[in-house]
């Protein structure tokens, strides 16, 4: 080893100036890189020579396997004895179902006993002498490669693939096209391909509800049912709202009247959900917003223009609406324009009026599509 000098040698090299020159000569004969010293000498474990230690390991492994069996039995016992309604309070995790926790812990111990036992067995009793396996380059040798090429070329040749271009091209065409029917069936059957954008652009507020006569049946005029615009209804109670109910600072979650009579109430809610808020009228900066509201009571789409979460958080002091999904923030006093966050467009406003019975209603739907942007939204 190059670093093994006795102190005597070192002392000699130090005292004699020739020592340094001798070192230089040494360097020239040294290899450019260190060479791999080979496997380090194997160090035996205590258990390899001491039968007592080996027996101790054996007992530990057997103990872990036994623990696993005990836990398995306890799992079965717990399954049949602990009531489903019982709960226990554990440190850190708090109140949990007793049955659930007991099953979890016993199953875990049953599994861990096997796992830890096996690993302990491998580490203490199985041979820990390292084994060397040779590697070979991945590349096939030339003979195998030539053989493979030959098989392919012979196949091409004997099938006359190259000599019969008609077969070549028609086969290519047929293979290229055969998946189309399957793809067409799948895609064609998945969903509607017509009026997709129209569906995104309309909400339930665009349509009206039939007026019911005293007998509870729709009133008819000239053979057609009489309709009126939809009222604003509380969500989820489904009751109509009077202007006087909307006290300053209050927030109402609103759905259009008759939403539960539609074919797919959830599909309608996704688009027609509205938030109704009462502000001090002089706080409202936009004339349109003030005109479409009533004495400072305004209604906006509750569907975020980013990716469509309900804009559920209202901060009364700043008059900001915050979407809890990606924190887009809308200013209620200025047409609900975006003041922060990833959304681009303001929440669309819904014009509200009071009908003869004193209830709030929407004379027409939103003037622009609600919810997330899409390719055709401005067409």
């Amino acid at each position: 080893m190059s670093n093994e000098h006795s102190p005597q040698e070192g002392a000699v090299a130090n005292e004699e100036s020739g020592g340094v020159v001798a070192t230089r000569d040494d360097e020239q004969s040294l290899p450019a890189r260190f060479s791999n010293p080979g496997l380090a000498p194997h160090v035996h474990r205590l258990g390899d020579s001491d039968e007592k230690a080996a027996r101790r390991s054996e007992r530990q492994v057997a103990g872990l396997f036994t623990l696993s069996m005990i836990a398995t039995v306890l799992f079965i016992v717990a399954y049949f004895t602990i009531g489903e309604k019982t709960s226990v309070t554990l440190p850190i995790s708090g109140k949990v179902g007793a049955l659930h926790a007991a099953l979890g812990v016993t199953l875990a111990v049953s599994l861990l006993g096997i796992g830890l036992g096996a690993i302990h067995w491998a580490k203490t009793l199985m041979s820990d002498t390292e084994v060397v396996e040779e590697r070979h380059v991945q590349r096939s040798d030339d003979e195998a490669r030539d053989g493979a090429v030959k098989v392919v070329m012979d196949g091409v040749e004997s099938s006359q693939f190259k000599r019969r271009p008609l077969i070549k091209y028609t086969l290519g065409g047929a293979l290229g096209l055969f998946a189309l029917p399957l793809g067409l069936q799948l895609v064609g059957g998945l969903g509607p391909a017509k009026d997709v954008a129209d569906d995104l652009k309309t909400t339930l507020w665009d349509s009206e509800v039939p007026v019911l006569g005293p007998d509870g049946k729709p009133e008819m005029k000239d053979g057609k049912p009489v309709t009126r615009p939809r009222r604003l209804m509380r969500d989820p109670e489904g009751t109509a709202i009077r202007l006087s109910d909307v006290t300053l600072g209050s927030v109402f979650h609103v759905l259009p009247e008759g939403i539960n009579d539609t074919a797919d109430p959830l599909n309608q809610k996704v688009k027609a959900s509205v938030i109704l808020i009462s502000l001090e009228e002089d706080k409202i900066k936009s004339a349109r917003e003030r005109n479409w509201g009533l004495n400072g009571v305004v209604a906006f789409s509750k569907i975020c223009t980013h990716v469509g979460c309900p804009v559920g958080l209202y901060e009364q002091t700043t008059h900001h609406l915050l979407c809890p999904c990606h924190q887009s923030t809308f200013d209620l006093t200025e047409d609900c324009k975006v003041v922060f966050g990833p959304a681009k467009r303001p929440l669309p406003q819904l014009e509200i009026k009071v009908d003869d019975a004193g209830y709030l209603y929407a004379p027409h739907g939103f003037e622009e599509p609600v919810g997330p942007s899409f390719w055709e939204r401005d067409r």
Binding site: L112, T124, V196, P324
Partner: protein, 597 residues
């Protein structure tokens, strides 16, 4: 062959045979069955090949194993769940045992998930193991990817397996997201709603994809049954198929190993599958399953009964997806709204598209291309089976850490609302800080990591040249104190000097011998520039000559100083006494082994 004797052996005699290398023959009922099978399948050759396979030992190799075992746990528990789960969006009224939800309208999917959690004995445990296991699956995939990247295990011949692994990682994320959506609870429904918003942002076909996927408007009645088929049939089949290819390639390539004495590019040093790895790896499956079960039994995750059924008009504050989707959600929180604009009446929503649609494919393409870019830069066409220590590839390690920083900031941004509440800070400030950090932090981290790697390499050189500081203070007869250094032995030194430091490739002349511009000169220039960027700062490993010189130079230096005390210090430094001690301590592996006993 001692067929007859073995067949007649008593139990004790059988045990006495245990240590023999030779197979015990066709003896016993097991032998008879094995013989029957082998005569019909020739399986013995494959079994011999498989059981003799050698796997090297290292803790970092267990991440991939963890992913594999989590996948098995997912398949087992997932199969259990299908026996009770009803993949339907049909409306029903809950009348099970969970009082707060009684009388509530909900989908059958949600009702059956509540039933699994409340009324099926042990059902909640299986559900919780399934969910926790999915999270652990993706954690271990990420850690496994880090290990493979930072050690350069993606190099030839393993580029293909790196790409298969990337596909597995991406599909696992999709699989996780879809599975998480199946219960149709409020939180996951909000996730699907956001996903529909993402799809709508795709130019030209976004609306159609959304209407095809949902069978009409959102949410419709089709999405849960369709997700169910994708989650339990389509993606598991693809995942298991890709996983099989992944593990077969590991068999073909044989496992990589860290540099160490006796480890070369032409061998693999470790322990055979039978019996050591069968016990270690088999045991580790039970450990992974056991720990997952323990967590599932004690820590509640996704309590859907508390969220309630999906209702499009409702949302909870603090809506975070499962962790692996966090980075994409974080990107959506950071992208500014001005990226949405209208051209010729068509709407481009880049504020959504970049984070939700483009980011994952772009990141995965970069990761997939990386092995080929690095091979091009280094010009290295050799097979590599010895792993790099991350410090020995400062630029790669720096790039990896910069990428992790980028990812980490996106991930942290997904919790901006939680941070704002917990730390009582402004959400706007937090978001702004993340936006700035996303741009400036990766280059800073790259630089710091690269410098750290170079420093660690210098420390390695220092260690090789001057040995370990023994902490033993020696006082000379003249009253001078110094610390004795303990030189490394051959086995300790080898891992520190066994690497190759790539030098930047030289730029070939831009013109040929006739002075005409060569084809591809621009490409060469770019390659040379990249190579320079990669390798201009490098620390060469210590050579035997340098080591020799270090010992002699020290002494020569002190001789020139002419101070007798310092000459003495040179003498003592690395003197014979220390050599003796180094041998007494042995190499580091010995300490580790001794500790295990």
């Amino acid at each position: 062959m001692s067929d007859t004797t073995t067949a007649r052996s008593t139990a004790d005699a059988l045990r006495a045979d245990d240590k023999k290398e030779a197979p015990a023959g066709n003896g016993g009922p097991v032998g008879a069955v094995a013989n029957w099978v082998d005569e019909r399948t020739g399986a013995a050759k494959g079994v011999r090949f498989l059981l003799k396979k050698v796997f090297p030992d290292h803790w970092s190799f267990m991440f991939g194993e963890m992913a594999m075992y989590s996948l098995v746990v997912l398949l087992i528990t997932g199969t259990f769940l299908t026996f009770w789960f009803v993949p339907s969006m049909g409306e029903t009224t809950y009348n099970g045992s969970y009082v707060p939800l009684q009388g509530v309208q909900m989908s059958e999917a949600f009702a059956s998930t509540v039933k699994i959690s409340m009324d099926v004995k042990g059902g909640l445990l299986i559900r919780q193991i399934h969910h926790w296991s999915a999270l652990i699956f993706l954690v271990s995939i990420a850690l496994h990817m880090f290990r493979v990247f930072f050690t350069g295990a993606f190099r030839k011949p393993r580029e293909l397996n790196w790409i298969i692994g990337l596909l597995l990682a991406m599909l696992s994320m999709v699989e996780g997201f879809i599975g998480y959506s199946l219960p149709d609870d409020l939180l996951s429904g909000t996730g699907i709603r956001a996903m529909q918003g993402f799809i709508l942002s795709i130019p030209v076909v976004g609306t159609y994809i959304s209407y095809f996927l949902f069978g009409g408007g959102f949410p419709g009645h089709d999405i849960i049954p369709r997700f169910f088929t994708i989650h339990v049939l389509l993606l598991p089949a693809v995942l298991v198929g890709l996983f099989t290819a992944h593990i077969l390639l590991v068999m073909v390539h044989k496992h990589t190993q860290y540099p160490g004495p006796g480890r070369t590019n032409k061998n693999v040093v470790g322990f055979p599958l039978m019996p050591v790895y069968a016990a270690k790896a088999g045991g580790f499956f039970f450990v992974v399953f056991g720990i997952t079960t323990l967590i599932a039994g004690l820590v509640t995750i996704n309590p859907i009964w508390a969220y309630g059924p999906y209702e499009p008009t409702m949302v909870t504050a603090g809506s975070q997806p499962d962790w692996y989707m966090g980075f994409a959600d974080g990107a959506l929180r950071l992208l500014p709204g001005f990226l949405e604009f209208t051209v010729l009446g068509f709407t481009f929503s880049f504020n959504i598209m970049i984070g939700a649609i483009l980011m994952i494919p772009i990141l995965w393409t970069i990761m997939g291309a990386y092995p080929f870019v690095e091979a091009w830069v280094t010009g290295d066409k050799n097979e590599h089976h010895i792993l790099d220590r991350p410090r020995n590839q400062p630029t790669r390690t720096g790039l990896g850490m910069a990428a992790i920083t980028f990812y980490g900031i996106l991930f942290a941004a997904c919790g901006n609302d939680i941070m704002a509440i917990k730390f009582n800070m402004s959400i706007n400030d937090i978001t702004r800080a993340f936006q700035i950090g996303l741009i400036i932090m990766p280059p800073i981290v790259f630089w710091v990591t690269k410098r750290l790697c170079l420093s660690l390499q210098r420390a390695d050189r220092e260690m090789v040249l001057h040995g370990r500081e023994s902490g033993r203070i020696v006082r000379t007869g003249r009253g001078k104190f110094f610390e004795a250094h303990q030189n490394l032995d051959d086995f300790q030194r080898w891992p520190l000097v066994a690497y190759d430091a790539h030098a930047p490739i030289e730029l070939p002349s831009a013109t040929d011998e006739n002075g005409v511009r060569r084809k591809g000169a621009r490409k060469d220039r770019m390659r040379a520039r990249l190579s320079h960027y990669y390798f201009k700062d490098r620390i060469e490993p210590v050579t035997p000559a340098e080591l020799e010189a270090a010992h002699h130079d020290g002494q020569a230096h002190e001789a020139i100083e002419s101070h007798p005390d310092e000459a003495e210090q040179g003498l003592m430094h690395g003197g014979a006494e220390e050599i003796g001690e180094a041998h007494a301590y042995g190499h580091p592996g010995e300490h580790a082994d001794a500790g295990k006993n």
